[in-house]
């Protein structure tokens, strides 16, 4: 049971995978260090497009679990990716990679902030990076929507659920828990009926 997840690899033996625990640690460290204003946009780019440890579909499935469980989504996802290949040691390596170096940087910035925090140029630079990262996150969602074409549900139905979700969360600002229960429940029920037993 030291690698309870390894059968996943049987799905596609050609899919790239992390080589070792230190590969996991450093991959997630590098990934986290690119994540200004959050790691969300970076994690899809690195996991799916660059390293190809996950397909679009696997990413969406894992992200659903990472999102539903308590805790930071990106840390949950790193835990799941590490655990899938190397069991508990893999999960811990990936999580440590995600947190250790960024933690030191954040503390250093916290100490420096009292000296330089009011500098308007620095504030401007942070504002610019935040704007780019907002665009990056939305683009990540749009890119992943392409995976809905290969979804058990018809494309029009999947895209309608996406539109309803955006309306509920971004426009009406409904609490996340209701959106997950109602729209998520609807998506799961409809998918359940489409899947062969």
């Amino acid at each position: 049971m030291n690698a309870p997840h390894s059968p996943a690899l049987a799905d596609d033996p050609d899919q790239p995978r992390p080589q070792s625990l230190s590969d996991l640690f450093f991959s997630f460290t590098w990934l986290a260090l690119q994540g200004f204003g959050g790691v969300l946009a970076v994690i899809q780019r690195e996991m799916v497009e660059r390293k190809r440890w996950l397909t679009q579909e696997q990413f969406l499935e894992d992200w659903a679990v990472a999102q539903i469980m308590p805790g930071p989504n990106v840390v949950n996802l790193s835990l799941m990716v590490g655990g899938r290949y190397f069991g508990l040691p893999g999960a811990l390596s990936a999580m440590a990679g995600m947190l250790a170096v960024p933690l030191l940087i954040v503390l250093l910035l916290g100490v420096l902030y009292t000296r330089f925090g009011t500098d308007p140029q620095l504030a401007g630079a942070l504002r610019g990076m935040a704007a780019v990262s907002a665009g990056m996150i939305a683009a990540t969602g749009i890119k992943l929507a392409a995976a809905l074409a290969r979804h058990p549900l018809p494309l029009w139905l999947g895209l309608s659920l996406v539109a309803l979700g955006v309306l509920a969360v971004a426009v009406l600002r409904l609490p996340l828990v209701y959106v997950l229960l109602v729209l998520g429940g609807l998506g799961c029920t409809l998918t359940y009926r489409k899947l062969s037993p």
Binding site: V106, Q121, V132, A134, T191, Y192
Partner: protein
Amino acid sequence: MSPPLQLVLSTSDWLSLFGHYLMLSLMSVGGAISTTAEMHRFLVEQHGWLTQAQFNESIAIAQAAPGPNVLFVALMGWNVGMNAGSTAAACLGVLVTMLGIMLPSTTLTYMAASWGHRNRHLRGVRAFKQGMAPIVVALLISTGLILGGANHNLATDWPIWSLSVAAGLIIWRTKIHLLWLLAAGAVLGWFQLI
């Protein structure tokens, strides 16, 4: 810097801080940031372990820094420790708050993910994971819209909106490295062009 508060924290205070973050961890569906209101009530209002300014700065710095946003929790722990008078206490604060916020949620997620993976051929498990896909896409797009729409005034904020939209289009259509776009955003902001 000299701390704005001078605290004396007993062992039971540290345990209470730890216990509170353990509890917050279990409630942090959608990320630790969704429990900030409760952290504020506990740290600033109830105990007075952090000032309002320290609380806000902890969140702002972690948002701007590379890495997961959950690290704002570490900064709060650090500041509580600094208020208690020493760097050693600050390190203890980081340890207590980060262990507290991570331990329960990661244990649960690991167990749930392992279970789901072992049973991934069950119809119910497949239906859950695939059925959530449209909602996951919707949440990502919404997060981008909410973050990008934080600046409300169309007349004055159109340059920053344009930057977000341009960044989104470039990411969508090209394979350019994300760091180049972040650097471009930083340069534009540094020279006050947005």
